[in-house]
C-alpha cells in the first residue's frame, strides 16, 4: 500500500467503514508509515466534527440538563 492508498483507507478507517481484512492491511501500513500515518489519521478525525456540524441542531428538553447537573453535583459530593 502506498501513502496515497493509505490516505484513502484512513478516511474510511475513521468512519469505521473498513472491512476486517482491509483493517489488517491498514494496520500494517499504519505501522510502516509511522508518525506520518498517525498525523494523517488525526487530521481525518476532522470529518467527524464536520459531519456533526452538517446537521441542523436539535432541541433537547431542559429537564435533561437539570438531571445532568444534579448527577454531576452528586458525583462531586460522593
Amino acid at each position: 500500500m502506498n501513502f496515497e492508498q493509505f490516505q484513502n483507507q484512513s478516511r474510511l478507517y475513521v468512519i469505521g467503514a473498513l472491512d476486517p481484512e482491509e483493517l489488517e492491511q491498514f494496520e500494517q501500513a499504519r505501522e510502516k508509515f509511522g508518525k506520518k500515518a498517525e498525523d494523517f489519521i488525526s487530521k481525518c478525525y476532522a470529518l467527524h466534527e464536520a459531519f456533526a456540524l452538517s446537521l441542523r441542531p436539535a432541541k433537547s428538553s431542559d429537564a435533561i440538563k437539570e438531571r445532568l447537573m444534579a448527577m454531576v453535583k452528586a458525583k462531586k459530593q460522593s
Binding site: 468512519i15 469505521g16 467527524h48 466534527e49 464536520a50 459531519f51 456533526a52 456540524l53 452538517s54 441542531p57
Partner: protein
C-alpha cells in the same frame, strides 16, 4: 471549525480544562454550546426523541467522567465529543431492541421520501455566515449516491459490505463512492480552513 463564539466567551479548550479540574459550570457551558449538535447526531443514528435525550445525558456524563483522557494534542474538544457520542449512539442502536424499530423506520423513510442528510440553510444561518452552512455546501455538492454511502457508514455504523447489501450495489462501487466522497469532503474542509 466550531461555531463562532461570543466575544470574551471561554474557548472549548478552556472549558475542557475547567471540566478536567472539576468545574461543573464549565460542563454547563459546554452543554449549552453543543447539546443541539450532539442531539442532532444521536437522533440521526437512533431516530427516537426520548432515547436520544437519555443518551445525550449519558454522553455528557461520560464527558465529565472521561475528561481526563482528553488531550489537546489529539485534536479539538468538539471532535472528541462527536467521536464519543457517535460511538455511544451506534452501540446503543446495535444493543437495543430499538434497532429493529429504527431499521424499520429508516426503511420506511427511504422508501417513501428519503430524509436528506443536509438541509438548506435557514435565513438566520446564512446571515450569521455560519461555518455549518459552508460544510453543508461541501457535502451537498457530492452526488447523492456518495452522500448516501457516507451517511450509512457514518450515521448507521455500516461496513462497506453492509452498505452494498442494503443498497443492492456492487461492493466495488460502494468502495469507490466512499473513497471519492470522503476525499472530496476532506479536501473541501481543507479549503474551508484556509478561508476562515
Amino acid at each position: 471549525m466550531a461555531p463562532a463564539l461570543e466575544p470574551g466567551a471561554p474557548s472549548d479548550f478552556e472549558l475542557m480544562k475547567g471540566i478536567q479540574a472539576g468545574d461543573a459550570d464549565a460542563l454547563s457551558q459546554l452543554y449549552d454550546r453543543y447539546n443541539g449538535i450532539l442531539k442532532a447526531l444521536i437522533l440521526r443514528v437512533i431516530h427516537n426523541e426520548a432515547e436520544a435525550d437519555d443518551l445525550l445525558q449519558e454522553i455528557f456524563m461520560e464527558i465529565w467522567n472521561q475528561a481526563k483522557n482528553f488531550s489537546e494534542q489529539k485534536g479539538k474538544p468538539l471532535g472528541w465529543m462527536v467521536t464519543l457520542a457517535r460511538r455511544r449512539a451506534i452501540d446503543g442502536l446495535r444493543k437495543k431492541q430499538a434497532y429493529a424499530r429504527a431499521e424499520e423506520r429508516l426503511q420506511n423513510e427511504t422508501e417513501q421520501q428519503p430524509e436528506a442528510w443536509v438541509h438548506n440553510a435557514t435565513e438566520e444561518e446564512i446571515v450569521l455566515g455560519d461555518t455549518r452552512v459552508l460544510i453543508r455546501k461541501v457535502i451537498s455538492s457530492l452526488p447523492p449516491a456518495q452522500q448516501q454511502a457516507i451517511d450509512l457508514a457514518f450515521f448507521r455504523g455500516m461496513s462497506q459490505r453492509e452498505i452494498a447489501a442494503k443498497t443492492n450495489t456492487p461492493l466495488g462501487t460502494v468502495k469507490t463512492r466512499l473513497e471519492l466522497g470522503l476525499k472530496k469532503i476532506y479536501d473541501g474542509l481543507k479549503d474551508l480552513k484556509d478561508e476562515l
